[in-house]
């Protein structure tokens, strides 16, 4: 177990429990919102559509079947729609639908329980599917832009803006304007933290993991973290979310009007502009273009039917050889910086970087909090076309295995702070304490013959009190 020299034991121990980057999808995010926010969100047809789209297949089926039923449908009837063999899926989707308050329980005369779609959701989903309702605020007609921007321009613009954020994180030389706001979000998200000595932001374990995600997941994670802070800025969460969802259903390469947008939304728009989710020529231009980053932001990466975020702007550029050499055909400083997280760079040419994966370089990355799977995932994701000819293993298996072995090597020992209880007078005493620790989940090791047990350190006070009470009583 290697560690970068932090002196206190507790810091060492906390490193054992990996605090990995948590990626929520739309469902996880909405589930944790309070009921009244959900209710407000469902007032907007766009959100209902986005939520509906992301439901599991079976749930979508249920929703459509009861969309036009004006009374509760008995739960038994809903369950009977699927075969018995899939009852697990039924239970799961029922839970999902309830969690998102898409449907709610209602009692039916006769004492049966039934499901009924939540009225707001039902009304607005009908509007999305059948048309009608108010036009979206941002779709109001515009006269044609005399300096219209095409898709290629928007792509390169959004790419540049987004890479600006990533560049800032890796601290490469191309550091140009990133606002204090964006830095605050990075800090809030735990992707960067203030250095203890000079207070400048430095990248964290989660930050490294963030860098190796695909672009879509990065944007979504970042926006979620941003939304967390939205209310502190005095913006209305519901309003921002609604706008974001509308944006995600907009058309790439079309311009939209900012007319009728509230002051708060205009602020939000400026933030999105900074991260490259929308393009505006001038702050007061009165129109904006959504970019590829914003389109389909709400659809999960697993949903392959959605157009892939940057399939044509991004080509694989990494070749890995069995001798651990890495050739990266790129001129982007960001990509070079990413590669250098886990390889030792040897040569740099105008369009090519040559490096080698060594035990030291990989360990460096592991110490930084990147996992072996993330390294391999990144190499796979950006593998050069030439590597993809063998579609089963685009990477040499030896290299993949070795990277995994290097990771395992660091985990041969695990440490847990604990308290050892030994030399119990009787088996009964031992059993009582073991029983108590076990039911409270504090027991980390026990041996019956030796009458020895190890208890989690943080639970020591609790167990001690129990033991005192017990020994007094007996």
């Amino acid at each position: 177990m290697a560690d970068n020299g932090s002196s206190s034991t507790s810091a060492v121990l906390s490193l054992n429990k990996f605090s990995n980057l948590e990626c929520k999808n739309l469902h996880d995010y909405l589930r944790t919102r309070p009921q009244n926010i959900l209710e407000k969100l469902y007032n907007h047809p766009t959100i209902c559509l986005a939520v509906y789209r992301e439901l599991p297949e079976l749930a979508r089926q249920y929703v459509i079947r009861i969309l036009f039923v004006e009374q509760p449908v008995p739960q038994a009837v809903v369950a009977s729609w699927g075969s018995q063999a899939f009852s697990k899926e039924h239970v799961y989707v029922s839970k999902v639908l309830s969690e998102l308050s898409v449907w709610q329980e209602a009692s039916i005369p006769g004492g049966l329980l039934g499901w009924i779609l939540s009225p707001t959701f039902k009304k607005n989903l009908k509007i999305t599917l059948l048309g009608g309702g108010k036009p979206w605020s941002m779709s109001s007609a515009l006269d044609t832009d005399n300096k219209a921007r095409d898709v290629a321009f928007l792509d390169s613009y959004s790419l540049e803006r987004w890479e600006c954020v990533l560049h800032y994180m890796v601290g490469s030389q191309q550091q140009e304007g990133i606002s204090a706001d964006a830095v605050r979000i990075l800090l809030h998200a735990g992707l960067m933290k203030r250095d203890e000595e000079d207070g400048s932001p430095v990248i964290t374990r989660q930050g490294f993991q963030f860098l190796l995600l695909d672009r879509h997941a990065q944007v979504w994670h970042f926006i979620l973290q941003y939304l967390d802070t939205v209310e502190q800025r005095g913006l209305d969460l519901v309003e921002c979310l609604t706008f974001l969802f509308q944006l995600s259903f907009s058309t790439l390469g079309k311009d939209y009007s900012t007319e009728g947008m509230s002051q708060g939304l205009l602020v939000f728009l400026q933030h999105l502009r900074e991260f490259g989710l929308v393009y505006q020529r001038k702050r007061k231009a009165g129109r904006f273009y959504p970019t590829r980053l914003a389109i389909n932001i709400t659809s999960s990466a697993a949903n392959k039917s959605a157009p892939v975020l940057d399939d044509d702007t991004h080509k694989g550029y990494i070749v890995v050889e069995t001798n651990y050499r890495v050739y990266a055909y790129t001129d982007s400083n960001l990509q070079v910086a990413l590669i250098s997280l886990f390889t030792e760079l040897m040569y740099r040419f105008p369009n090519l970087v040559v490096g080698v994966i060594t035990r030291e370089s990989v360990r460096q990355a592991l110490r930084g909090g990147i996992t072996a799977d993330q390294i391999i995932g990144y190499l796979k994701q950006h593998a050069h076309e030439q590597m993809l000819q063998d579609s089963r293993n685009p990477l040499p298996p030896t290299v993949v295995d070795q990277i995994k072995l290097w990771e395992l090597e660091r985990n041969r020992l695990t440490y847990q702070e604990g308290v050892l209880y030994s030399q119990f007078l009787s088996q009964a005493d031992y059993n009582v304490l073991k029983e108590y620790a076990q039911t409270n989940g504090h027991l980390i090791w026990s041996h019956k013959e030796k009458r020895t047990l190890v208890i989690n350190k943080c639970a020591h006070d609790d167990v001690k009190k129990f033991w005192k009470r017990y020994s007094k009583g007996s």
Partner: protein, 73 residues
């Protein structure tokens, strides 16, 4: 009466356990640090030795690894 001691529970494979026992026996870290030998895969050691121990294990790992890639021309 019951005996209570604070420390760190180490979970490891058999080979690593033998290495730790060896370090303890030969006082390689300057003193004894194993409080109790629990079973084949578990040891209970004193908490303040942890940093030194980790450095020592890193050393061992460095010694038994062989550079795989040629960095030469």
């Amino acid at each position: 009466m019951v005996n209570v001691m604070k420390g760190v529970l180490v979970t490891c494979d058999g080979a690593m356990k033998q290495f730790l026992l060896h370090l303890d026996d030969t006082l390689k870290l300057g003193r004894k640090f194993i409080i109790q030998d629990l079973d084949d895969n578990h040891l209970f050691i004193s908490a303040d030795i942890l940093d030194v121990l980790q450095a020592k294990i890193d050393d061992l790992m460095d010694q038994i690894s062989f550079p795989l890639a040629e960095k030469g021309q």
